[in-house]
């Protein structure tokens, strides 16, 4: 399952597309895709594939995540390049929509319909054989049975998110595109949506989830595509990417009962680039090998009999994946 870490600039793997394991078949394939709005470039030079399972589409706001999802949905046409789903062109072939479900980022829904009517309507338009059964099933999956009889206009944000997901999966598509599905949900709803996303992925569907909340992404997707400034910045296994990140300089904050002595011992090591003491029993160390450094500190502290109170990365917050890739 572990996929090699690939960068956009690196050689494409055997299937010809970054983002796919060797020999893996592309369910979604983008080749040389770019999109301009007038003079503004939304995305450019995108070539990647997405296979089965959950893939997280990551990137800061405005990086082009929604543009990509909308192009895969056929809602907008790329300015150049091709977008194919299940090896069929979207936008020219409306029958492809039997295999695609999208829960987009738009907030408004048909306010006068009830949640059940809305999901059922989507089933009917998809020509699902048993629309009532399919709708009930989808509603049950997102845990909305109790509120399905109420009008959409009165839904909270979390409820809207879930009913949108129900409408997107009512026809049991092979490709499910979810744009920021966790936005606005409370911790309880978030946990149940995350469990749902994992389950759909395990069933072999291609689930693409865009998000900017990294700690959550970690919980449902191992495979990620990072979009920065409209370009593919990284693709592959989340942890591999995070480990790659360890190869750059890190800052670590340490609090102990004898910061001077510990700092003096650490600074003698070649992996320590600098140490800055701050008066309150803490120091911040900069290292070029954070893994070895993280082992070094307890070892040295143990040897010297220094008590460690705290040790935490200054920039480990997973947000640093972005800052790292953005800063490049």
């Amino acid at each position: 399952m572990t996929k090699p870490f690939t960068q956009a600039s690196s050689e494409p793997d055997s299937d010809g597309l970054p983002g796919l394991a060797p020999g893996e078949e592309a369910v979604i394939a983008l080749r040389g895709v770019a999109k301009w709005y007038g003079e503004v470039v939304a995305v450019s030079d995108l070539t990647f594939g997405i296979g089965a399972g959950v893939t997280a589409l990551l990137g800061p706001n405005g990086a082009g995540k929604s543009t990509i999802l909308n192009m895969v949905s056929g809602l907008i046409a790329p300015s150049s390049g091709t977008v194919r789903v299940l090896d069929r062109p979207v936008r020219r072939d409306t029958m492809i929509y039997r295999e695609i479900g999208l829960a987009g980022e738009q907030e408004q829904l048909y306010g006068s319909l009830t949640g059940r009517e809305f999901v059922r309507l989507n089933a009917i338009l998809q020509k699902t054989p048993d629309p009532d059964g399919a709708a009930e099933n989808a509603i049950a999956i997102v845990d909305m049975a109790s509120a399905a009889g109420r009008a959409l206009g009165g839904y909270s944000k979390g409820m809207r998110q879930r009913i949108k997901v129900a409408a997107a999966l009512v026809h049991d598509p092979r490709v499910l595109l979810l744009d920021e599905p966790l936005n606005g949900t409370d911790p309880v709803q978030r946990a149940s949506l995350i469990a749902l996303i994992r389950r759909l992925g395990n069933e072999g569907k291609s689930v693409v989830v865009s998000s900017h909340v990294l700690p959550e992404v970690e919980r449902f997707a191992r495979n990620v595509l990072v979009i920065v400034n409209g370009k593919l910045a990284a693709a592959g296994d989340f942890r591999t990417i995070r480990e790659r990140m360890d190869e750059r300089d890190h800052m670590v904050r340490v609090r102990c009962d004898d910061p001077r002595r510990l700092a003096a011992a650490l600074v003698a090591e070649p992996i320590t680039k600098s140490i800055r003491l701050s008066g309150d029993g803490r120091f911040v160390a900069e290292t070029n090998d954070v893994r070895r450094f993280s082992l070094l500190v307890p070892e040295v502290a143990k040897r010297e009999g220094i008590r460690l109170f705290e040790m935490q990365p200054v920039d480990e917050s997973l947000a640093s994946v972005f800052s790292y890739l953005v800063g490049k």
Partner: protein, 327 residues
């Protein structure tokens, strides 16, 4: 900014009730919130927004009293509204005005003379990080910029207390970071009291020193949050690679580790602290098993535990799910 004996509490309610038809949105809410940065937590529909609306005088309660900064929200509504600011959750921004126009207009609505309003609008927009953009139409702004404009209009008239409803909603990690930093600065440097309503426990943990948790229209927790450098709290740890040898070594000295819960990445653990020996045991276990110790920090009384304990069954279920998802 911090509690002085002669200053009124920031929020005080007694037996506050609000009904929407059959639904009891607030069920006899009693609160006495000190002058602090207050986090307002709770699941969707817990009554957070309803409470904010009543405190702001936007909505009338069906019973009970609410006092903000020592003033009754109904009787002294106008006087009170001169001293508070409000950043709503919705995209409450005009389609067709520039940021500077809109914010200075809002300043005038708070009673500032015209020139002072324009001047302060420009200053505040600069301080929330909108400088050159302030003469552009708000319509074309990104989510993060819109949130900043909303924050700017909430503090442009230099309020004593500012209500922030989901200020980090829709922001990406960098944007969220910057927004929380801004809020933190508003509170700590400028001494403006903050009431922050959020879904995200982490947001509250970052900027607040007091927390109120609502569930089903009732107050289930209301207490101070941080005690700086609390050396008696549980510990959060994370090691690189396979954590099992590290955890086994700890277990040998009688220390049990459990996975950290719902808002944290899956590979963090919580270890109950029994004195300072626990610190040493963790240090030694890492050194002995060669496990790089990437994180060691006191969990104080973690907000998450508080939330899970007070919100009860639902969140416990979620916690189970979360753990299931982590495996």
């Amino acid at each position: 900014m911090h509690a002085e004996p002669n200053q009124p509490l920031s929020i005080e309610t007694s037996a506050l009730v609000k009904r929407y038809g059959d639904v009891l949105a607030l069920d006899h809410v009693d609160l006495a919130v000190p002058r602090a940065a207050v986090g307002l937590l709770g699941p969707n529909g817990a009554g957070k927004s309803t409470l904010l609306k009543i405190l702001l005088g936007l909505s009338r309660s069906n019973g009970g009293t609410a006092r903000v900064l020592g003033r009754d929200a109904v009787v002294h509504g106008r006087e009170l509204r001169m001293r508070v600011g409000y950043m709503p959750e919705t995209d409450a921004l005009p389609d067709n005005a520039t940021a500077a126009d809109f914010v200075s207009h809002m300043a005038e609505m708070s009673g500032l003379p015209r020139r002072a309003a324009r001047q302060r609008a420009a200053d505040v927009l600069y301080h929330v990080g909108l400088d050159e953009e302030r003469y552009r139409l708000v319509k074309g702004f990104s989510t993060g910029m819109k949130q900043r404009v909303k924050l700017a209009q909430a503090i442009v008239h230099d309020p004593e207390l500012v209500f922030l409803d989901e200020p980090t909603n829709g922001l990406d990690p960098l944007g969220r970071e910057e927004m929380l930093e801004l809020i933190d600065r508003i509170h700590r440097q400028l001494g403006i009291l903050v009431v922050l309503s959020s879904h995200i426990l982490d947001d509250v943990e970052r900027v607040c020193d007091y927390v109120v948790v609502l569930d089903g229209g009732r107050v289930v927790a209301s207490q101070p949050l941080h005690v700086p450098d609390d050396d008696s709290a549980d510990l959060h740890v994370r090691v690189d690679g396979n954590p099992d040898p590290f955890l086994d070594t700890l277990r040998e000295v009688g220390l049990e580790a459990r996975p950290a819960g719902i808002e944290y990445s899956s590979d963090e653990f919580v270890i109950a602290r029994r004195g300072d020996q626990t610190l040493d045991a963790i240090r030694d276990a890492a050194a002995a098993t060669g496990s790089p110790l990437r994180l060691l920090r006191p969990a104080t009384r973690s907000l998450e535990d508080l939330y899970v304990d007070s919100v009860g069954v639902g969140a416990n279920g979620a916690r189970g799910n979360g753990r299931g998802a982590a495996t």
